[in-house]
């Protein structure tokens, strides 16, 4: 059986064709580099994806800090991982690379901060509170 893939590893977006018999991969064609072949093998065995989202920052100069997985996670666990990340709030300041969830759901990937966020300046906070009240 022939199955077609679009490699997502890099912007080349190689179009790959794999010849599969039962559980065995007979051949993979179309990759410009070996990461394409690895992608197809992974995609057939256990498709994985990275995800990026954000978490709330308490007292932050902006309300959100972006985060991402350090390693790809199984595709069918994406929404479960999103739920875990949504539970987290961090206290400003936060730094790039700060781990906010270690080994999320035992999937072998950490969730790290990808944007440093400083503390909101006192005066801005007071202003906001005045406006809000």
């Amino acid at each position: 059986m022939k199955r077609e893939f679009t490699c997502i590893v890099c912007p080349n977006s190689c179009e790959l064709v794999a010849e599969i018999e039962g559980k065995e991969i007979k051949s993979i064609e179309g990759a410009l580099c070996k990461r394409g072949d690895e992608y197809v093998v992974q995609e057939i065995k256990d498709p994985k994806r990275t995800i990026a989202t954000s978490v709330k920052v308490i007292d932050g100069e902006i309300p959100l800090a972006s985060v991402r997985t350090t390693k790809p996670i199984p595709k069918d666990k994406i929404f479960e991982v999103m739920e875990e990340i949504k539970k987290v709030k961090v206290q400003a300041p936060v730094q790039i690379n700060q781990v906010i969830i270690e080994n999320v759901l035992n999937l072998g990937s950490d969730i790290i901060i990808t944007k440093s966020v400083g503390i909101q300046k006192c005066i801005e906070r007071v202003n906001k509170e005045v406006v809000a009240s």
Partner: protein
């Protein structure tokens, strides 16, 4: 008003501006300032929180903010002057830059002005969608900034018009955040975003993509209630009787980016009708001596790695100009026909190797890019596939250039 003298004034602190500043500094130019209208530098990357940046440059898949941070940190370490919350409002052809800042108006006299203002999105007005004017219609970049920077969710049931990368990435982002993306509608018979984004942003989440379709009406009073989608023929005209109604509260437009060149025009910089960015020579200098351009202000890039490289290349030439070194004169025009959407630079000297960046106008398989002078083919490169979504970079060696005649770049 006091006029501040600078060797280089950089308009915009996105990846192009930051890379240019660092390279100028490396070349020994110290009297530089970056003017940025936002509170922080980093440009559009601050809101692009997905990963996939830096694969070419750093061999890792970083998120936009992480990629930007590497340059922001280095600019700080090198003590390069940065003024944020400073919007440039004036630029003249003798390189006087006026900026509106928190401390009032400031004027700079620059030896070199570096244009790195990025681009803006095409809006509903630009593509004239008929219908009512309800809330709930956003451009993809604005939706991205609401969700990723301001923590504002924009809707629950979404239709996306246009298959540009930002729209595709927002389809995934909205789905992850619990919204339902009903469909992506694309007028062209092929997607305008990268294939890998079709795969990982749409196919992964079972979001359908309708090619050769467009939005032909918008309904709703206060808030968007539904959109009408129709098939289009080869000429892009809606086909009657093919209308389909989608009940949704949000329509996202991802219908293209336009280089941000209001200021450039003020200074008499000539723009190219295809790129909508300045016409530049191989030094990335515009027709106004001492004014240079790189990044999305010059032509819209799909990869930031090449934006940084372009910023650096610009700075190498600008540094020479500041030091009074005379460069080669670019007298060979580089032109195209209908098979290519655009090329940059549009003029070269023929005295050194150059890199030509281009986009093809139609997708094709097993095609080749040919450069010719008169009837002579001077360069030919084969490609397994050609896709307008991807910018192509081709080195043209000095030895390959045969004369001072025009170089024509075509798909063969």
């Amino acid at each position: 008003m006091n006029i501040i003298k600078k060797d280089a004034v950089i308009l915009g602190g996105g990846p192009a501006g930051l890379a240019a500043a660092l390279k100028l500094k490396e070349k020994g130019i110290d009297n530089i300032i970056i003017l940025e209208r936002e509170k922080k530098t980093g440009g559009i990357l601050r809101q692009c929180i997905h990963d996939g940046f830096g694969i070419v440059r750093f061999k890792e898949a970083l998120s936009g903010p992480e990629y930007a941070d590497r340059f922001v940190q280095e600019v700080q370490r090198q003590n390069i002057e940065v003024q944020t919350e400073a919007t440039v409002i004036g630029l003249t052809n003798d390189k006087i830059v006026t900026a509106a800042t928190k401390e009032g108006l400031k004027k700079y006299q620059a030896k070199v002005v570096i244009l790195t203002m990025g681009c803006r999105e095409r809006t509903r007005g630009a593509i004239s969608i008929p219908g009512t004017r309800p809330a709930g219609v956003y451009t993809a970049g604005v939706a991205q900034s609401y969700i990723n920077l301001k923590n504002i969710m924009i809707g629950k049931k979404v239709v996306i018009l246009g298959s540009g990368d930002i729209g595709l990435i927002m389809a995934r982002r909205l789905t992850l955040e619990g919204a339902e993306v009903l469909a992506v509608i694309e007028k062209q018979p092929y997607p305008s975003g990268l294939p890998r984004n079709i795969e990982q942003c749409l196919n992964d989440y079972n979001i359908p993509l309708y090619l050769s379709h467009t939005v032909t009406n918008i309904q709703g009073k206060e808030r968007l209630e539904s959109v009408t989608v129709s098939k289009v023929d080869e000429k892009g005209q809606a086909i009657e009787g093919t209308e389909k109604e989608y009940n949704c509260d949000t329509l996202i437009l991802s219908v293209g980016l336009i280089p941000e060149n209001e200021l450039s025009l003020q200074a008499g910089v000539e723009l190219h009708p295809r790129t909508k960015g300045p016409i530049v020579d191989e030094n990335l200098q515009t027709n106004v001596e001492g004014i240079y351009a790189a990044g999305n202000v010059l032509h819209v890039h799909d990869l930031v790695d090449f934006v940084s490289i372009e910023g650096e290349k610009l700075a190498e030439s600008a540094a020479k100009y500041i030091k009074g070194e005379k460069g080669y004169e670019s007298i060979i025009p580089v032109t195209t026909d209908h098979t290519i959407n655009n090329v940059v630079p549009q003029k070269i000297s023929g005295e050194q190797d150059v890199e030509i960046s281009l986009r093809v106008s139609k997708p094709s398989k097993d095609g080749q890019i040919i450069m010719q002078q008169g009837n002579k083919v001077i360069m030919m490169k084969k490609f397994k596939k050609l896709n307008p979504a991807e910018m192509i970079h081709i080195k043209l060696k000095k030895e390959e250039i045969q004369s001072k005649e025009e170089i024509k770049v075509v798909v063969g």
